[in-house]
Symmetry: C2
Amino acid sequence: MTKDIEHRLKNKDINLTAMRLLVLDFLTKQVAAISLNDLEKGMGPSDRITLYRTLKTFEEKGLVHSIEDGTGATKYALCEDNCDGDHHHDLHVHFYCNTCKETFCLPNTKIPEISLPKRFQSEEMNLIIKGICDQCHPD
Amino acid sequence: MTKDIEHRLKNKDINLTAMRLLVLDFLTKQVAAISLNDLEKGMGPSDRITLYRTLKTFEEKGLVHSIEDGTGATKYALCEDNCDGDHHHDLHVHFYCNTCKETFCLPNTKIPEISLPKRFQSEEMNLIIKGICDQCHPD
DNA sequence: ATGACGATGCAATGCTATTGCAATGTTAGT
DNA sequence: ACTAACATTGCAATAGCATTGCATCGTCAT
């Protein structure tokens, strides 16, 4: 229901607009992370820059996180609920399928602890695994 | 000595040219991974596209690997010796320092085993850690 | 010497990300 | 409900990196 969508925006301290409701609704329907292009094609006719800024706003407020999967185009996917603007908790692995070219969040596959060399201090981690996803897997 | 540089090119099945000797020589002198821009600035006056293609060639032949560190510009760094064009063995962690904005290879920090969900098959992994490097570390 | 092939340099282009600005919509206070 | 203040939107324009086409040049083997 759109009530639910509205709540999610309000919870993240994002003002309600028609555009934002539509974008969030679209995002919840995705299985894979999407690029700005995907969003533009998937939505009705709408301004690319507005979509871009909507995604940026969502990201700042901790509603979505962005993924650099090496394809050149930034992908976006919904965050888990416990994210906020200051601290993204998206320490899960992202998977890029070389066959279907889709990027997926693997929310249950966390990035393990890494022991860095002396005096290196970690603030953020990003792990992209490329290969073949479950859908494209042969046999 | 340039003899050494020449050998490294020949070993990787790369034809010798003046440009390539210069670029490889420059690369060996770097502590951090460099972008095409860095290379262009660091070398004498030379054509940007040629440098670009030189890096591409090196990458194909397994002499350097490229790193997407999220800054938008692809970085390049020398591979370890056991890489070849078909199989890059750069399964080490890359570290981006938020302070000095440099990207480093951490060749001794390997990416640990990750157990993926059923039927996901890994072919390649890429781990970027962002934070503060040893040089920029306070105290 | 010459012919084939690879490397180089220049021009041009595509694509993504990003900003400026004016118009428009939204919200809060009275 | 009215208005002022502020946020959002849409259009235009730009920046920056990646990439290709093509003509020229160099190099190597016959």
